[in-house]
């Protein structure tokens, strides 16, 4: 689904996402859980969904034509209830540009398919000049 302009921001979704068991297990292992048999979705797991191409494209659109790069400045996850392995959710994301300091605010909301809220997440991307030694991404 393409990003829809929304004033100074863009809205993406809802995107249907799933806490796929294999992917959750793999993610748990990579963040240091020793017991990956436990079927619990890590709090930071939605970061996986935030790498979706639709979101990435919206970020690229915001920065198009500028000689800058986004740098991950901060991240937050705020839960209303835990996620469950194997369940699907709807992810809605808004991307907004902030002038001072220059950055992009990526706000994500996750809800059950019945519309019950589960999570709010905020990603702040600081916009910095592209280092001279760094070639622009085609």
């Amino acid at each position: 689904m393409a990003a829809e302009p929304e004033g100074a921001g863009a809205r993406i979704g809802p995107l249907r996402v799933c806490a796929d068991e294999e992917r959750v297990t793999r993610y748990r292992r990579e963040i240091g859980f020793s017991d990956t048999l436990e079927k619990i979705v890590p709090v930071a797991f939605p970061a996986v969904w935030l790498t979706a191409e639709e979101i990435d494209a919206a970020i690229r659109d915001f920065l198009a034509g500028e000689d800058v790069v986004p740098v991950h400045e901060s991240q937050s996850f705020h839960y209303f209830a835990p996620l469950r392995v194997g369940e699907s959710y709807d992810l809605t994301v808004s991307v907004r540009r902030e002038a001072e300091p220059p950055r992009l605010s990526v706000n994500a909301s996750l809800s059950t398919l019945a519309g019950e809220p589960r999570l709010r997440a905020e990603t702040l991307l600081r916009i910095v000049p592209r280092p001279a030694s760094l070639e622009p991404v085609p």
Binding site: R23, Y27, V43, A47, S74, A81, P82
Partner: protein, 139 residues
């Protein structure tokens, strides 16, 4: 938070040492997370930006607080996790995660200050966590 002993304000969790992470570990995290940023995987790109080695994914480090917190209090739910990425930890550096209780009450739950740091001992991540019984989760 009936039945559960609340931690005292100021309580420090035992330091949790992770890493050092090699190139294979960063490749594995990139594959598991979907984070395709080549900066974390490409030595030449890292050098071009001024790092002697690729930086470890900040999200890998922030997410690594959850095993620490769960090992400390399995009876509480990690309802909020946030972090500011202050400076990078580079590939090959050991990392220390630390946590300290800032506030603790039956009404609010347990707020913790989180710090991650590499060899430089300056904070790489400054974060916060809120742990509650599941029924306490609210907006």
């Amino acid at each position: 938070m009936s039945g559960a002993r609340l931690p005292a304000v100021g309580e420090r969790l035992p330091d949790w040492r992770i890493g050092p992470f090699d190139a294979a570990a960063l490749e594995a995290y990139a594959a598991a997370s979907g984070d395709a940023n080549r900066l974390h995987l490409d030595d030449d790109l890292a050098r071009a930006i001024g790092f002697p080695a690729p930086p470890v994914h900040g999200m890998k480090l922030l997410a690594a607080f959850e095993p620490l917190l769960c090992a400390w209090r399995r009876d509480l739910f990690l309802a909020r996790l946030s972090g500011k990425f202050v400076q990078p930890v580079l590939r090959g550096e050991p990392v220390t995660l630390s946590a300290r209780v800032l506030r603790s009450s039956p009404e609010e739950g347990v707020f913790l200050r989180l710090l991650a740091y590499g060899e430089a001992r300056a904070p790489a991540i400054v974060g916060e966590a809120l742990m509650t019984p599941p029924r306490k989760i609210r907006s």
